[in-house]
Symmetry: C2
Amino acid sequence: MAEPESATVDLEIIVQGAQEGKKLELRLWLRMLSTTKLISQEIRRRLRNEFGATLPQFDLMAQLYREREGLRLGELSKRTMVTNGNVTGLVERLEADGLVLRVTPDGDRRVTVAKLTAKGETSFSAMAAAHEGWLRDMMADVDPAVVSELWRDIGAVKSSVSNHLSGADFD
Amino acid sequence: MAEPESATVDLEIIVQGAQEGKKLELRLWLRMLSTTKLISQEIRRRLRNEFGATLPQFDLMAQLYREREGLRLGELSKRTMVTNGNVTGLVERLEADGLVLRVTPDGDRRVTVAKLTAKGETSFSAMAAAHEGWLRDMMADVDPAVVSELWRDIGAVKSSVSNHLSGADFD
DNA sequence: CGTAAACCTTTGACATTTCAAATGTTGCTC
DNA sequence: GAGCAACATTTGAAATGTCAAAGGTTTACG
């Protein structure tokens, strides 16, 4: 908790925004992480209580909702940032619930395409509407201009991180 | 030799036509979530490759490192935002690895206090130093002034969210 | 053709996550 | 003291998450 005291006082404060102590990036990261956890947990709780769904299922269905013809599992994996092995089980459970359908196209039998059923589309659009409202509620006290700034600046963070990954990987 | 599976980003695509005006909060949320996932996965990968540790273990040890006398499991649960049941298993595995010690104080036998062993302290401080450097690297392209702004504004988001939770919960 | 490389998905072992219910302990009240 | 509410942790079932390795299927090349 305690910051190391500096013997020389004034100079540091002048030099490029050295707010209070270093580790700015670390502090930002910790705050991002805790805030994201907080929001995730709230959304999870509401999805569960009001729709009996889970957040990963919601995310996966959101991708399929945008692509009505369906998506290959590998593509789903990239878009949801979920590992391939994980997508398999996720789709299995959604299929068991009648929300998603799995098809192997004639052209290439390596591939499995998942797409929403009619029931899945109905179910998702109800959740999506509620989901959007929850977020507006939760962020109600934040100035819309700040929301916009955050959106832009977090984009810069995301971009920087993407360029400094250890496993070569980018857009 | 299988490559690590997860790949590129996206996940911001739930929004339909919202490029220009509405659903600002939703778009911010999706960007926060994907950015946080991206950073988490990178940290996870490096913790695993360079230290053989997991992120939740690192988080838990970070709390114990700040409180050398140890923490009760319930307190650990709050600080790490991990459920009680989960803390039990995490501490169990860390204890099996000799990084953490569990003690039941004489005063109150309901309580279990976890604290770092000497080995745990050594191990953690090496990881913490590396961890801080990784974050500086990943955010290297972001203007420090922007990092500060983000830290402040995300604080505002967190505060707003805390005031609009359905369950009883705050910080 | 036949084989190897590349591709896509699944499987398996384990760690983490949540919720709900069960267990054990303490403190308070009557 | 006996009973009970409050507290702290553990347990159990189900889902999600990772990585690594194994299955099938094309595709390309000699």
